[in-house]
């Protein structure tokens, strides 16, 4: 009996939930190392199809095999070889998923439901790059091609049908979102960075990506300010000029180590008069705070400190979690559909063999009849071949439909077996007539 063996989709890997950063950094694969590993997989003919994926938070292998346990071992060997790390160091951090769990996992990873920051958009691009690598290495074929295309579709649906990516979940992004709610278009707005600091600089970077008009930097050490301004293609101003500059800047990001407020509420009424009441947005990331909280009471001035931004992030994270529940439904629905397609693959060899058997039988009988009537030359004509095809199609239409649509409650395997026995598809002996036809 040669019913196609059950090809299982297997995922094995580790991520930020299962492995500490020391292990993750040891096993993190560069693009070249992924290519090398895929080359080894192909060389060793370990699997029909394989895919490798590595980011700072995860290393995963997806493969198609009829023996998942063996496959996982081979993946461990290849990883140990490529990264030159003993297998015993990382085996305990790896998980293994098969069947619908594996499919759901891939869909969840691509849709950023399994990411450290839920809904972050970079992961889809990383999966796409890894898939490109697998296709160019020739290790992704029918099943994985379909699987990843469906994963990309799932990710797209999750992004468009849920609000998972809609709320900022980092302090710097939350600040940009707020700036957009105040100013709408940031392209005419000027930004002033007071002091320096990782978070503040990141916020300025995001603002620059949003095409703000100009960035000014004020630092107690003017030279340091100049360096920073150069990084953002902006200009440096002296620290003493900060209050007077409020007349013409629109967004102020402050992150100094000053023990007292550097901008006081009492200065602001005068400043607002000079700037004709145009809105001002202060982002105070410093601890202790740089900006007097009372200025938030002045009309057209908006002040957010680091705690306020953190609150925004937490609320947004909760929102994303709510949206994630909707996203899981999309993933479940698409995983079930994909497995339905994969199941249908099992009948393909049987359909091919069935069609071949019937075609041979029809051709054989036509050949015999024509030979008896000295019409052998006509056998080669197009019309006869078309007739053979039509007879086969009409004859097999119902049996093939029967195989393709067994219904959700019936077992495809037993129907395949039934059809193979009914048509004796596993008998290797060839019909005498067919042999003769081939010889001629």
């Amino acid at each position: 009996m040669s019913v196609m063996n059950q090809q299982e989709i297997v995922v094995t890997g580790m991520n930020h939930k299962t492995a500490p950063v020391e292990i993750r950094e040891k096993l993190s694969l560069s693009q070249d190392e992924i290519k090398k590993a895929l080359g080894l997989i192909k060389e060793k003919k370990a699997f029909n199809e394989a895919f490798l994926f590595s980011t700072c938070n995860r290393v995963e292998a997806v493969f198609v095999s009829d023996c998942p346990e063996e496959g996982v071992k081979k993946i461990f060997e290849i990883l140990a070889l490529v990264k030159n790390v003993p297998m015993s160091d990382f085996i305990s951090c790896f998980y293994k998923l098969t069947g619908i769990d594996a499919v759901k996992h891939i869909f969840r990873v691509a849709s950023s439901l399994d990411s450290m920051i839920l809904g972050e958009p970079q992961i889809l691009g990383q999966v796409k790059t890894a898939y490109k690598c697998a296709t160019s290495a020739g290790s992704s074929k029918v099943i994985l091609n379909r699987l990843f295309h469906r994963a990309f579709q799932a990710a797209k649906r999750v992004r468009t049908e849920t609000g998972i990516g809609g709320h900022a979940v980092s302090i710097s992004y939350a600040a940009i979102e707020l700036a957009k709610k105040i100013f709408g278009n940031l392209s005419t707005k000027k930004v002033l960075l007071v002091g320096a600091g990782e978070m503040a600089e990141l916020a300025v970077e995001h603002l620059v990506q949003n095409n703000v008009a100009h960035v000014f930097v004020a630092n107690r050490t003017f030279e340091k300010g100049l360096d920073l301004a150069k990084r953002f293609s902006g200009s440096a101003i002296r620290f003493e000029e900060v209050v007077s500059s409020l007349e013409w800047v629109d967004i102020i990001i402050s992150s100094t180590g000053a023990p007292d407020y550097i901008i006081n509420g009492k200065d602001m009424r005068q400043v607002m008069k000079k700037r004709k009441n145009r809105p001002l947005f202060f982002i105070d990331i410093a601890v202790p705070r740089d900006i007097d909280p009372d200025i938030n009471k002045v009309d057209n001035i908006y002040l957010y400190d680091v705690d306020d931004l953190q609150d925004v992030v937490e609320v947004n994270m909760e929102e994303r979690k709510k949206e994630a529940a909707l996203a899981e439904e999309i993933v479940d629905e698409m995983a079930v559909k994909f497995l339905g397609w994969k199941k249908s693959l099992q009948i393909v060899p049987t359909i091919v063999e069935l069609r071949k058997k019937v075609q041979d039988a029809v051709e054989c009988e036509i050949f015999r009849t024509m030979k008896d009537n000295n019409l052998e030359k006509s056998f080669q004509s197009e019309a006869v071949y078309r007739m053979v095809d039509s007879i086969c199609s009409r004859l097999l239409h119902d049996p093939i439909n029967f195989l393709k649509n067994p219904g959700s409650h019936r077992d495809v395997q037993s129907y395949i077996l039934l059809v193979r026995n009914l048509f004796n598809l596993d008998d290797k002996g060839k019909d005498e007539c067919v042999v003769k036809k081939i010889e001629n």
Partner: protein, 276 residues
């Protein structure tokens, strides 16, 4: 045609409500298109009325309501074209639907008895003042939205309303836009009214309550525009002024007719027109 417009406004409102309830912006698009179609149907209805009576259809309660619905939708479309923001869609659909629905309860004017220059001027006067009122109504609603959004940002409340409302700058610019157009229409409408008054009554100003309050509204919006241009009234103050301004518009438009003696109502409803 007015029933079709009413149906489209109701349908549009339903789509906007579904979009809000299901938190799905997909339904805003059909809501927007249905609202634009409703606006077009209201316009066609006014055109057909004009053809049937052979004059600008600006007389009687039915036509007044239809013109108001048309002008409110007109400002919605204008704001969309100018700012590319589907602002107030649900509110405009509901309000225009309410106005067209009310219009169905009143008789249609079949014939205008007198067709001289003063009647033509009266019709233009009505048209322009209705457009001004629609602009002030839109500015008032935008002002309310501004106050809500400003409070959300100041008090750091980032709930669903914060997310749905556009930025303060868009709200302020669109409010300014409506007030500027409203002021223009009001100025032209009042100018025509003054000229017509001279034609009909022999005086430029009758100084009846309606006229006095109308000029008060004009001065108030002139002050508001000046305040905005000189940058004294920006943001919250300007939004509050837009709301107060519309309150006075409502009083001068409806309240005056109820509480005070005025020649306006009689003139429009008098023997110049014949109802069907």
């Amino acid at each position: 045609m007015i029933s079709v417009a009413l149906f489209l406004y109701i349908l549009s409102f339903c789509f906007y409500v579904i979009s809000q309830v299901q938190n799905n912006p997909f339904y805003r698009r059909p809501g927007f298109f249905l609202l634009v179609l409703g606006f077009m149907c209201t316009g066609i209805n006014l055109f057909l009325d004009a053809v049937s009576i052979g004059h600008i259809p600006a007389f009687g309660i039915r036509n007044s309501l239809v013109i108001f619905a048309f002008s409110v939708s007109f400002f919605f479309v204008l704001l969309y074209l100018r700012f590319k923001v589907d602002l107030l869609g649900g509110a405009v659909a509901a309000f225009s639907g309410l106005l067209t629905g009310l219009a169905l309860f009143f008789d249609k004017i079949q014939y205008i008895g007198q067709k001289d220059f003063s009647i033509f001027m009266t019709a233009l006067h009505v048209f322009f003042t209705f457009f001004a009122n629609a602009a002030f109504f839109t500015a008032c609603v935008i002002g309310l939205f501004y106050l809500v959004q400003e409070k959300n940002i100041k008090l750091k409340k980032h709930g669903i309303i914060f997310r749905r409302l556009p930025s303060l700058e868009i709200l302020e610019s669109s409010g300014n836009f409506c007030i500027a157009w409203g002021f223009f229409f009001l100025t032209v409408g009042l100018g025509i009214g003054v000229v017509m008054s001279k034609q009909v009554f022999g005086h430029f100003l009758m100084l009846d309550a309606k006229e006095v309050w109308s000029f008060l509204v004009w001065f108030l919006y002139a002050a508001l525009i000046h305040g905005r241009l000189s940058s004294r009234w920006r943001g919250r103050k300007a939004a509050v002024m837009a709301i107060i301004g519309f309150g006075i518009v409502v009083f001068s438009f409806i309240g005056i007719n109820i509480f005070m003696d005025t020649s306006h109502g009689e003139y429009f409803m008098g023997n110049l027109i014949i109802r069907g």
